[in-house]
């Protein structure tokens, strides 16, 4: 079931109503059932597989309660998680090339044709995170299966995250949730903004960005530059749109999901950017890979951090997909962060006489351009295509227009600046933003009508452009 389909929206609203009508002790079971139906709408095989996956991790978690077998079961759990990910997601990249040495007919990647690994990269991280939390003593194992199953399968976040933490998610299920009108209203509002970002903005840009990478030869240098600059906006509105939908629906159901975005394009350097973009994933890698690795090799001094950064970001890159291009995507992020880390003092000294506003905006522009450039490795189907893209960028010329006005998505050039200006206000002019917020949410009939008019307009715009659907880009993982 497509998350942006009208059927999904209507069923979700009905599900929220039923959620608050049933007794609170049945709610976890109800959400687990809903999530299972949602996953089954994609494939029964993946549902069966995810239930098996959840059962194994649940069982290992319970076994880790016993001190003597804790490490053994922890290792077993990590091996299981990594192995299933390797088999279902990376076999074409890591296993099949080795098997092809022995025989042309051997292929593990066919397995992923039977069990379509939807959401596997997300739930695997959640499974590993749960086991590490227990091993480190940050959390006790969950004794009941249903809450643990819900942690893995919860439908708003199943396809594309946010990557939840068990010690954040599970305690919420233990609370006796009362109906909170403000929470539900806020959740629905966040979800509406998510739908708007995804359908009215990202979906309109999608065909252009996707076409640029599927047929580089027919694209002019100018158009490739435009696509390069639009690339970050596309991924941001697509993915943050999905995240808003997930967070909004979860909040309406009384569950807080981890945030994923925090005005990333106003980051002044790459290090900060990754604390504000796909936060749940980058913080997962930071906590479970970077910190553990740098701690383990702490005797190396600064080189431990550099080594940990290279490992973390290479894994971060490869998490996105089975290909060298993704590895490079992560590696260049590591290089940028290492550069920022090692030159920080020098840079502060060198730019000490430059007004802060200039350095801030210079940093923001450089960060955006760096991310836009690195995204070429993300969008390209292979390293070869990525390098070809960079080569063609030098060939400046050709048409600048995206196409005939009646067909090109020029409306997004209104929506994007409006949303970015709001983010800028929230980021740089917090007083103005909070005044605006107070004005906007003031509880008078006139303001309410103003709010309802905007929400109605957003729904209409989503309905107008929503007739042609595009898949979420992060569903690929």
């Amino acid at each position: 079931m497509q998350i942006t389909s009208l059927a999904f929206v209507l069923l979700t609203i009905a599900s929220i109503i039923i959620f608050y009508l049933i007794k609170s002790k049945y709610r976890v079971g109800y959400l687990a059932l809903l999530s299972s139906i949602f996953i089954a709408s994609y494939s029964y095989q993946i549902l069966i597989y995810v239930l098996f996956y959840a059962s194994v991790n649940y069982f290992i978690g319970l076994k880790m309660q016993v001190a003597q077998t804790k490490t053994t079961f922890f290792r077993l759990g990590i091996v299981f998680n990594l192995l299933q990910l390797l088999l279902l997601r990376y076999s074409s990249f890591a296993i099949d090339p080795v098997l092809s040495i022995f025989s042309d007919n051997l292929s593990i990647s066919r397995l992923s044709e039977i069990i379509v690994p939807i959401g596997i990269s997300y739930f695997t991280l959640q499974g590993i995170g749960y086991l590490i939390n227990i091993k480190m003593g940050w959390e006790k194992p969950e004794n009941r299966f249903l809450p643990f199953m819900l942690y893995i399968v919860f439908f708003p976040k199943f396809l594309s995250g946010p990557v939840e933490r068990s010690n954040h998610f599970l305690p919420q299920l233990k609370k006796d949730q009362q109906f909170d009108a403000r929470q539900v209203e806020e959740g629905l509002r966040i979800a509406l903004f998510g739908f708007f970002k995804k359908i009215a903005i990202a979906n309109q840009i999608a065909p252009y960005v996707i076409n640029a990478y599927s047929d580089i030869d027919s694209m002019s240098g100018n158009l490739l530059w435009i696509m390069l600059l639009i690339g970050p906006l596309y991924i941001y509105f697509d993915f943050s749109g999905y995240t808003d939908i997930a967070i909004g629906i979860a909040r309406a159901l009384g569950i807080e999901l981890l945030p994923n975005f925090n005005r990333p394009f106003f980051s002044e350097n790459v290090t900060t950017f990754w604390k504000r973009f796909h936060i749940s994933l980058s913080s997962w890698f930071n906590d479970y890979v970077f910190r553990q690795t740098s701690f383990k090799y702490r005797k190396w001094g600064i080189y431990a951090s550099i080594f940990a950064l290279l490992v973390t970001w290479s894994l971060f890159g490869i998490w996105h997909g089975a290909g060298w291009n993704f590895m490079v995507l992560g590696f260049v992020q590591a290089l940028a962060i290492i550069y920022e880390f090692t030159t920080k003092k020098w840079r502060i000294k060198a730019f000490s006489n430059v007004p802060e506003r200039i350095t801030t905006w210079f940093g923001r522009i450089c960060t955006y351009l760096f991310y836009a450039g690195s995204l070429v490795f993300f969008y390209s189907p292979s390293l070869g295509v990525a390098f070809k893209y960079f080569t063609k960028l030098a060939d400046i010329g050709g048409p600048l227009m995206l196409g005939p006005v009646s067909r090109a998505p020029y409306s997004v050039f209104i929506y994007i600046p409006v949303l970015l200006i709001l983010e800028l206000l929230r980021n740089d002019y917090q007083n103005t933003y909070s005044k605006l917020e107070t004005y906007w949410y003031h509880n008078t009939a006139r303001r309410q009508m103003l709010r309802w008019t905007l929400y109605s307009l957003m729904i209409v715009l989503v309905l107008i452009v929503g007739q042609k659907g595009e898949q979420f880009i992060y569903v690929n993982f």
Partner: protein, 304 residues
């Protein structure tokens, strides 16, 4: 919870009201400002029309055939072409016109630019929304709300708000007269007219059959376009034979030789569409072809 339910219900009502108002305003604006909309409504409400010639096709024909000029030269004409029309829609429009009005036209011009426009696909129904939603006995649904169904006309409306030239475009005998000029910077390609693609078209052959039954002379017009669309074939006419036994005459006015009539910086709106001056030049030549065909028909026994 009760309070929230009431608030939700009120919002739902507010949204419905908002949706209705938005649609009503949009429809009102379209009816009064959009040439295609005005023309469509006009064409289903004619009062005993006596046109001798009807033009069908897409925006190429809508801009490019000067029916006012043809009328002034003695052939009373009306341009029924609509932007984005499919061949199926043209067929429906013709059938509808013949069933609605007693006076049958003598000529039907089906205009296309086969380089730009893809031939129709069998078993795929593509009816232009303006025509579909104004057809007799059409059953309306929520999907037909004007803001959802006529989305592209909103862009046309914005163009009018932003550009004087678009605002000045006017409707005359169904033709949209547009003064805007966009030079043709495209390059010639060595292509030839593919008549097989035309004879393979299901809807053109249906149209030919229908015209044969009704005793109407069907002329297929390959309309001039930008250099990149022009072909090296002769103007013709070509006598085309369809699989259902019907025939039609094809005039290849997109022949490179013929298109030398047009000035690349004066006669085009853009994207292979003729502007007002280009349409006048083309229609004068078209008139001669019609007259030539008339005399040829008169001299050919058994065809009339």
């Amino acid at each position: 919870m009760k309070k929230f339910a009431i608030k939700s219900l009120l919002f739902a009502l507010y949204f419905v009201m908002f949706f209705v108002i938005i649609n009503a305003i949009y429809l009102g604006l379209l009816v009064n400002t959009d040439e295609g909309f005005k023309k469509r409504l006009q064409s289903i409400r004619f009062d005993n029309p006596d046109f001798e010639l009807l033009v069908f096709g897409t925006s190429f024909a809508e801009y490019g055939i000067d029916t006012e000029l043809l009328t002034s030269k003695g052939i009373k004409s009306f341009n029924l072409a609509l932007g984005g029309n499919s061949l199926q829609t043209s067929y429906i429009q013709l059938e509808e016109y013949i069933s609605n009005y007693s006076h049958k036209p003598k000529y039907v011009l089906l205009v296309f630019n086969s380089y730009r426009e893809a031939p129709d696909k069998e078993n795929v129904s593509e009816i232009e929304p303006l025509v579909e939603t104004t057809m007799k006995d059409y059953k309306y649904g929520l999907k037909d709300a004007p803001v959802l169904r006529y989305t592209w006309l909103g862009t046309e409306m914005i163009k009018k708000v932003l550009s004087r030239k678009h605002r000045e475009a006017r409707l005359s005998f169904g033709q949209v007269k547009f003064e805007k000029c966009t030079p043709d910077h495209s390059e010639y390609k060595n292509i030839y007219l593919n008549t097989q693609a035309i004879t393979a078209s299901v809807w053109i052959s249906k149209m030919a059959e229908f015209c044969k039954q009704e005793g109407i002379d069907l002329m297929l017009i390959e309309i001039p376009g930008f250099k990149e669309t022009q072909n090296l074939s002769e103007v013709g006419p070509y006598e085309l034979q369809f699989s259902n036994g019907s025939t039609a005459r094809l005039y290849n006015f997109n022949s490179r030789e013929f298109c030398k009539t047009f000035e690349s910086d004066k006669d085009w709106i853009g994207n292979s569409h003729l502007n007002e001056s280009g349409a006048q030049k083309f229609t004068s030549e078209l008139f001669n072809a019609i007259k030539g065909s008339e005399s040829a028909l008169n001299q050919t026994p058994g065809i009339d």
